[in-house]
């Protein structure tokens, strides 16, 4: 059984117990434990079930590579699935549950898949579940989905209560990994005066070295670590962060750091995670190496661990996975585990070494009285939910002749693979090292930046330098004999054994699966991966990918480097979605823009509508009304008395400079350069392809200054559009564009009483003579500095008045107060829409959809014939744009006075070549008009303007058809008498 040793454990504090719950059972650990070490201390070796066969799974590793020990962590709004127990620091009150089983961890009915595993070989699901067709959706898929998945889904209504931060760092050198190599790199860079950021994913400096031993300059390596950390802490140009992982490396020397700030003390005031966006001139990956498992039958039984993990648990946490721990290896390093176990008083019944001989470490083990069997391998492991013994055989045999030795845990080592993920994320290439049987970074083919220079460098074990003397000057350690690559144990393992030799422990991929994939032609390593799911588990192949590649290479009779690796993709280990989103959540996610009168609207019944980044009142709902009633009232009141519209959201771009007129002549279809100061002109803006993209009133302020109104949603886009042309095409034109939208509060004062209320407030002259239609003037109204535009989007007498934004609310209040006797009421966007439709004015986004040109909308009058060019002119001359069959703007009136359904199509006889109903037009805007007391609509119809009075059929789902007559699109005050008064 696994248990806590009476002494030892360099990272734990035995005086500080910690209590936690696992599967509703109370357990105890100690300060400094990981959840994994605490579980082992409580003899909880079985921690989960595998993905496909639901086989029992135990802790295999001690770090980020752990594929099995994933738990549902926490509860309620702090619940998180798939948390690795090996990287979860224990805290008081931690609650964890194992995953992927029903009804319990010990008795999981899903294990029936294991019994059927013979039938569930790689890719079986591509070959069956084909018939009968409906069964995939209704039977097979639901079953597969239910048995797949790992952790529990958070509750649908769970709302993450933690916060997340984004941080930035710009440094000369980013060192990823705080082991001895990283510390040394950071120190060298720091001493050279460089800005350094050193990050380490665990809570401790030093990496593996303090566990593995060795000496530096005659002293223990721990001492060197402590001294170096202390020296670095003294350097003002060096920043050091623990619990921060290098998540990814991207183009242009960009790196991502993932800091788990308070996972180990949830609920404190700190953010939970930080995402660091780092620009470093140089990135040093000192990310260490990961030990490989050995592929032998039964290597997935709980109690089988990486030899290095066993060593970690013994040395760091004072925990052993068993009382008798057998060791299987192909290298010298695993003997360190044997020595550590022996030092701790744990029995090591046998070391099975695939090689014919070992080095001094092996001698040392023998000297301690440990039985060492060279030339031998594990033929089969004994046990079910727990290892009970190991059957050993000759390495060069087929594994049929076994010699059984009792044990309750196995430490295995298949050699070490450098962690090359960060090196590879951005294109760094690898070399195969034949001697050490691993891929390591090729310094000659590093990721390069814009200048062609390498910006990533690997150091320490991550570069393939696996021993302490290779990494640190003056270091001494055991001399190691070379390993012997072992990809299947024993070498001639019979098929049945291959079918029990796991490669990917989480996804249940076995040696036999990879061989089957190769035989079926899934020869590319990517095909094998995708066909078998090798390396697609949450550890992303950290543990077993190399073993899998080697098996594939063998099956294809190719060299391992010829097979190559799959693509390394960020992040190195999974990072939280919350951290990726950062602070911009809830109210901070695309913050709402508010006009100066926003709060007033809110207090006066505004029914809000999102428009661009703004909220605009759709209508102001009064007591006892519904929204529709309110809209009708607002239209009627504005037509009869006086309405106020908050028009502050309309874009206001100031275009200034000697070439401003020339520039606007290009931006608009109209001639803007001839506009006189003091006058306004309605303008149309088209894309290069000729399509109408925005409209608005342009006012000429002075010779060199124009103020261009845009649609609410278009302000930022049109500003960008102008800048694009100015910066990329006409960079030598003397024009400056400023988005002044937020500098002004703008109020539409609309209706027959509009002039009266302004005259009552007093100030500048607003008579028809002084301020005729389409004129503007600066002045003062009711004591407010104002710019007044005599423009109308409703067909009524109308003034749009801009005041300083800070005066917006006061001005609005003044208008409301003065307007009371004139029947003033605010109105919202829907009343605005109805009034403009009654008047036959088009609306960008309603009558246009990115496929409509001004000519379709009867707007030829707004297209200058005198100009040589404007954006879209040439496009509008193309064949399809001048096609007389284009759909054109008309008004539509239903025969029964009802409101035409929005977006409905008018059909004509027959079907096209693709069996679709032929259509001849569509509804673009449709409303109930309180002014006319009936439904009115605008639409685009083929040859529409030539077909006045014709009746069209608009089918609606359900089989009915609405009939509507083609009419003139101007329904109200065709002569413009009202707006011109």
């Amino acid at each position: 059984m696994s248990h806590r040793l009476p002494q030892g454990g360099r990272l734990i504090d035995r005086r500080k117990p910690r209590t936690f719950r696992f599967n509703n059972r109370a357990m105890r650990g100690m300060k400094g434990d990981t959840l994994a070490s605490a579980l082992l201390a409580s003899d909880q070796m079985l921690v989960g079930r595998s993905f496909k066969y639901h086989r029992p799974r135990g802790i295999v590793a001690s770090g980020a590579e752990e594929p099995n020990a994933l738990v549902n962590l926490g509860t309620g709004d702090r619940f998180e699935p798939n948390q690795r127990a090996t990287t979860t620091e224990l805290f008081d009150g931690l609650v964890a549950k194992s995953q992927n089983h029903f009804p319990s961890l010990d008795f999981d009915i899903g294990v029936v898949n294991d019994a059927l595993s013979k039938f569930l070989s790689a890719g079986f699901y591509y070959k069956m579940f084909i018939h009968p067709r409906p069964f995939w959706k209704h039977v097979y898929e639901p079953f597969i989905r239910q048995s797949a998945g790992l952790g529990k889904a958070p509750d649908a209504e769970a709302r993450d209560v933690d916060t997340y931060e984004h941080m930035y760092a710009h440094v000369d050198v980013l060192v990823v990994g705080g082991g001895v190599a990283g510390l040394q790199e950071a120190r060298a860079a720091g001493e050279a005066g460089k800005e350094v950021l050193l990050i380490e994913q665990t809570a401790h400096w030093g990496g593996r070295a303090p566990v593995d031993g060795g000496s530096v300059g005659g002293g223990p390596v721990d001492k060197w670590v402590d001294e170096t950390v202390a020296a670095l802490a003294e350097m003002p140009n060096v920043r050091m962060r623990l619990r921060m992982m290098g998540a990814g490396v991207y183009d242009h020397s960009y790196a991502l750091g993932y800091e788990r700030v308070s996972d180990h003390q949830p609920g404190n005031d700190a953010p939970r995670h930080r995402l660091w966006r780092i620009r470093a001139t140089e990135i040093v990956t000192a990310t260490g190496a990961i030990e490989r498992p050995l592929s032998f039958a039964g290597n997935d039984i709980p109690g089988v661990m990486l030899a290095s993990a066993v060593r970690d648990y013994v040395v760091n946490y004072g925990v052993t996975p068993g009382r008798r721990v057998a060791i299987a290896t192909n290298n010298d390093d695993a003997y360190r585990t044997a020595l550590a176990l022996a030092d701790a008083g744990v029995g090591v019944p046998v070391i099975v070494d695939a090689r014919s001989e070992g080095g001094p470490l092996a001698e040392a083990a023998r000297d301690r009285g440990i039985r060492v069997e060279f030339g031998m391998g594990v033929g089969r492991l004994l046990g079910g939910k727990r290892v009970t013994g190991v059957g050993i055989c000759r390495m060069d045999s087929d594994g049929s002749a076994l010699h059984e030795i009792a044990c309750d845990a196995v430490a295995m080592s298949g050699g070490w693979s450098p962690v090359v993920h960060l090196w590879s994320h951005c294109g760094g290439k690898l070399n195969w090292n034949e001697t050490r049987a691993h891929f390591a970074p090729d310094p000659a083919r590093a990721p390069t930046g814009a200048d062609g220079q390498a910006f990533v460098r690997a150091a320490g074990a991550a570069s393939g330098a696996l021993t302490l003397p290779e990494i640190l000057d003056g270091a001494e350690d055991w001399e190691e004999a070379p390993l012997s690559p072992v990809w299947q144990m024993p070498a001639q393992a019979e098929k049945a054994l291959q079918g029990k030799s796991w490669l990917d422990f989480q996804n249940d991929v076995k040696v036999s699966d990879v061989r089957l994939a190769a035989r079926e032609g899934y020869e590319s390593v990517e095909h094998t991966k995708r066909y078998t799911t090798l390396g697609m588990a949450t550890d992303q192949g950290k543990l077993s990918n190399i073993n899998g590649l080697a098996v594939l290479a063998d099956a294809l009779h190719k060299d391992i480097p010829a097979v190559g690796t799959t693509t390394f993709r960020p992040p190195y280990t999974p990072i939280s979605m919350g951290a990726i989103a950062g602070e911009a959540r809830g109210a901070l996610f695309q913050p709402i823009r508010r006009t100066p009168m926003h709060d007033w609207h809110d207090a006066h019944g505004a029914d809000w509508e999102p428009v661009g980044a703004w909220r605009r009142p759709y209508a102001f709902v009064q007591n006892g009304e519904d929204v529709h009633d309110a809209v009708m009232r607002e239209v009627t009141n504005t037509r009869q008395n006086l309405g106020l519209l908050d028009a502050s959201t309309l874009g206001k771009l100031i275009v200034k400079g000697p070439d401003a007129g020339r520039f606007l002549d290009m931006m608009y279809t109209n001639m803007m350069s001839t506009l006189k100061p003091g006058r306004c002109r309605y303008g149309l803006m088209c894309s290069e392809n000729g399509f109408l993209i925005d409209d608005g009133v342009v006012a000429r302020i002075d010779d060199e200054t124009f103020l261009c109104h845009t649609t609410t949603g278009g302000a930022d886009r049109i500003h960008g559009h102008m800048e694009d042309w100015l910066q990329c095409e006409w960079w030598d034109w003397k024009v400056w564009v400023v988005n002044a939208t937020e500098q002004f509060a703008q109020v539409g004062v609309v209706g027959p009483n509009a002039r009266k209320v302004l005259e009552k407030l007093g100030g500048m002259e607003v008579s028809a003579d002084a301020l005729p239609f389409m004129a503007w003037a600066d002045g003062e109204i009711g004591g407010f500095r104002a710019r007044v535009y005599r423009i109308s989007f409703s067909g009524e007498l109308s003034y749009e008045i801009a005041v300083d934004a800070g005066q917006g609310q006061a001005f609005w209040d003044a208008l409301m107060e003065a307007g009371e006797e004139f029947g003033v009421m605010p109105y919202g966007t829907e009343a605005l829409h109805i009034m403009r439709a009654e008047k036959g004015f088009i609306m960008i986004g309603d009558e246009t959809d990115g496929t409509v040109i001004p000519q379709d909308l009867g707007l030829n009058w707004a297209i200058s014939k005198k100009k040589e060019d404007y954006l879209g002119k040439r496009a509008q001359e193309r064949d399809h744009m001048t096609d007389p069959d284009r759909w054109q703007l008309v008004g539509l009136e239903t025969l029964d006075g009802s409101v035409l359904p929005d977006g409905a199509y008018a059909v004509e006889a027959g079907w096209n070549d693709n069996d679709q109903r032929r259509v001849q037009g569509r509804v673009t805007s449709t409303y109930h008009s309180p002014t006319l007391g009936r439904g009115i609509a605008m639409g685009l119809v083929r040859h529409g303007p030539d077909r006045m009075g014709e009746v069209l059929d608009f089918p609606v789902p359900g089989g009915t058809t609405v009939r509507a007559k083609i009419v003139d699109p101007v329904f109200y005050d065709r002569e413009g008498e009202k707006q011109n008064v």
Binding site: N82, W136, L516, E526, M577, A581, P610, D879
Partner: protein
Amino acid sequence: MKRYSAFAVAREALRGNAGWQRAWGAPEPRPAYDVVIIGAGGHGLATAYYLGKRFGITNVAILEKGWLGGGNTGRNTTIIRSNYLQDASAAIYEKARSLYETLSQDLNYNIMFSPRGVMMLAQTHHEVRGYQRTAFANNLQGVETEFIGPQRVKELCPIIELKGPRYPVMGALWQPRGGTARHDAVAWGYARACSDMGMHIIQQCEVTGVRSEGGKVTGVETTKGPIGCSKLGVVVAGHSGVVAEMAGFRLPIESVPLQALVSEPIKPCMDVVVMANTVHGYMSQSDKGEMVIGGGTDGYNAYTQRGSFHHLEETVRALIETFPMISRLKMLRHWGGIVDVTGDRSPILSKTPVEGVFINCGWGTGGFKAIPGSGWGFAELMAKGHSPLTAEFGLDRFTEGRFIDESVAAGVAH
């Protein structure tokens, strides 16, 4: 070809899976073929398959620079829908969707088409009106969609937040017969069927030049030597401009990275596909349990199959607003592919200035869903010189201004 079935799986299981054959061959190229297709992705393989199946043209080679299905076919978020606005788009995507429904049976390869339903959220009044219009159009195009209200949205997808502080969910365009499929399997299934018809799929064979005489194609140069043909189909999303240049013409295309990501797997919690175009993100749950997430294209043209991380931040942020429960899930992996983007965001299936050279490209961010329809129509175009499915997608539309612009309805996630 050995048929796949539960019976075959059981029989093979009992004899150690020794009897399975290669799913597709690994032939050496012949000197010439009737038709050469460049690109063994979904679209190229589907084209070859329907050339054989519909027109009896089987002397075909499909050349692949890397491994088959390794481009965008193996990198997308596997969504299948046909709720397009314009007639030409709706026709080809609906053809594809309907072929997907029976593709597993057709190919005798389980591509796991899962008609779980696709909804596109309406989060502004403008979107509501746009999707109502699309529903009307679809009704006349024979595409089954409807506009549904927020309560129905919540019933279909309980993890959704209807009342987000920024963009409330006002309804959705719902296509019940849309869904997902296993993307790799689509390529593999077609490859197996093509190989079975005697076609040659030649992997690790990069085309380095296009040969022509008198304005007519005669073959290609490859890393495995010259290969002759009288008809050449170029189906190389991400590198269309490069191959077109070899053939001597230019394309109105930009190549842009498109990224996607998956979470760690969790138990089933989302049974439908949801696209939120206002906030730029979409999500579904794979059969394995991963939340599969995508967004819009990167802002910069590139050929690297990576992309910028900040773009993913936008996507994830948008989806946390839409599905707040994913905040504590973890991103397992993110990746990128290169998509061809045309000016009107619609594909090009066309003859070209070089006689005998046909091009199929420009699928932008929406190619996977189109694979069977694209292959169906493109094969007809190559075999007969005309197809009603591809008629509107010719190169000439850019000079005539006859665009097929879906941006009104599809926003970013086209």
